[in-house]
């Protein structure tokens, strides 16, 4: 999919608006938009894996958590500045993804999905067990940094990088190879694509970005707690956002995450469990009626005209 010049202009205007927005907003709104970018980034990171390889990841929060905790530990225990700490954490997240992916991505996605659930649970326990380094169940406090515009731009920048990567997936030979694997792995293999290698690269990139977001989140929140940082809920929200918007599309995760993050902001505090029931119904609805997400629905409408 090539982007037409009209769409490109809309995108540029939106980016420019996002770039100047902190001049006009502060406090609550700045925080809300930073959160929305974080979720767009996380949904986009999952989409790079799941949307393009068809491998659903029930433990993607592991890479967010690895990014957050490694950044925290490097800054607190080694006194490292934020940027190198975040980069090292993201590389570590990507590396671990490849290591975990080697046996699991040879098998069908069903094995991968739950093996990742086990991985995320194991990572949380590693943080709890090695409490001398990570603070364990007492949590980990990072140096406090209150320049909230910094976090806004950091999340926005990461989102743009992820969108750029998704665009590259959509238009490169590598991305086409991935989509071929998603649709018919055996056929892709026969045409000479090294399927395991391609899937591992996509997984590594996806985890790398989740790690970056985790690192920014850690410095932004200044306090990490294993139960929250490795929460299954984070994985669930990533999956739901990506699929509601439309997995395997450029805009899907952006739309899904922006939509759900806004609704959550309104409903979450008061109706947490009701909200999750509604979300459950949304997932069932999306699978049965709207398998290509909101973006797919919109495209169908255009084609039907």
């Amino acid at each position: 999919m090539k982007i037409s010049s009209a769409k490109l202009w809309i995108a540029l205007v939106l980016i420019a608006l996002a770039a100047v927005a902190p001049l006009g907003i502060s406090g609550y709104w700045l925080r809300l938009f930073t959160f929305i970018f974080m979720w767009i980034g996380l949904a986009g990171s999952l989409n790079l894996l799941t949307g393009y390889t068809g491998y659903l990841d029930f433990g993607h929060v592991a890479f967010f958590g690895i990014g957050a905790y490694t950044t925290g530990v490097l800054m607190v225990k080694l006194g490292m500045p934020f940027f190198p700490a975040m980069l090292i954490s993201a590389v570590l997240a990507g590396f671990l993804a490849v290591v975990v992916g080697i046996p699991t991505m040879r098998l069908r996605g069903a094995y991968f999905a739950i093996a990742m659930l086990a991985f995320a649970e194991a990572m949380k326990q590693v943080v709890l067990e090695f409490d001398g380094i990570t603070g364990g169940g007492n949590g980990l406090s990072l140096p406090i940094y209150t320049n909230y515009q910094f976090f806004y731009y950091a999340m926005l920048g990461t989102v743009l990088l992820i969108i750029g990567t998704t665009y590259w997936f959509e238009n490169s030979k590598f991305g086409k190879g991935l989509m071929a694997i998603r649709e018919a792995e055996l056929a892709a293999e026969v045409t000479g694509i090294n399927t395991l290698y391609c899937k591992l690269i996509a997984f590594g990139i996806s985890a790398f970005f989740a790690g970056i977001i985790g690192g920014i989140y850690a410095y932004w929140m200044t306090f990490l707690y294993p139960g929250d940082t490795f929460s299954v809920l984070i994985t669930m929200r990533m999956i739901i956002m990506a699929f509601l918007g439309g997995a395997g599309t450029l805009l899907g995760p952006i739309i899904g995450a922006a939509f759900l993050a806004t609704i959550e902001e309104i409903l979450w505090a008061e109706f947490k469990y009701t909200y999750l029931i509604i979300v459950g119904f949304i997932v069932v609805f999306v699978v049965l009626i709207l398998p290509r997400g909101l973006v797919g629905l919109f495209r169908q409408r255009i084609l039907a005209r």
Binding site: P103, A110, A113, A115, E121, A122, K124, Y273, I277, P291
Partner: protein, 287 residues
Amino acid sequence: MLLQVLLNGVLIGGIYAACAVGFSLIFGVLRIINIVHGEFLMLGAFITYWLFKLHGIDPFLSIPFSFAILWILGYLLQKYVINRIIEAPEIMSLLLTFGLSLIIANLALIAWKGDYRLVNPEYAGANFRLASLTIPYTRLATSVFALAAMAGLYLFLKQTDLGRAIKATSQNKDGARLQGVHPATIYSVTFALGAAVTGIAGSLLSMSFSVFPSMGGDYLLFSFFIVVVGGMGHIPGALTGGLILGILQSLSTNFVGAGMTYILIFVLLYIVLIFRPAGIFGKGLVE
């Protein structure tokens, strides 16, 4: 001491095996990973809890209720919801059952609150001694029931026409169709049977562990571990997998800390997936 720890592991392992066997059956026949599995266990446990708490029904006598209620729930879910995507890419069934598990777990949370509950009949703490070993009656009885449930399922699949039709469908769907077996019916019955056996396992769990609405997640993970180790879709393998998990958990809880169990589970899972993806006997389905 070590012998006692191993014995505890074996007794728990029997129950764990029963927890996983329905998961394995459903995967073997329908080729879907059923994420609602953990919620089936939770519902079975709550059925026992409420019958005991509200009507004073002995936990062991509540087992038929769990079986029947979960059978109906499983049958309806498969026939009217899951069957609609049975031919779709597997990611759809993962997502769909994930959505269903969110709905059921959070409905339970609203209805029953998040408290940890215990099923504690008068005989709950009773035990007897055998040489230097302490054996709790409840643990022993639940393990025996778990084994009986698995044996029953195994014989049903082997000896009855319906059971053989289920096995035939899992081995070769088109071949079975040619013999007059209707796959959609078999799918519904299998899913119902898998759910019902899982309901029994939930009842058995409630007699040894706390019951709460979000308990499903851990047991989904345990069940997955068990069937990967024992071989996906290979029913007798679940017994071995269950015993390995029970012993592993018992050992790690006693010697290195309960939290380590999850790390060991992942490490072992990783090793098995590298070297024995079809389970330690090599009899599971690998695709």
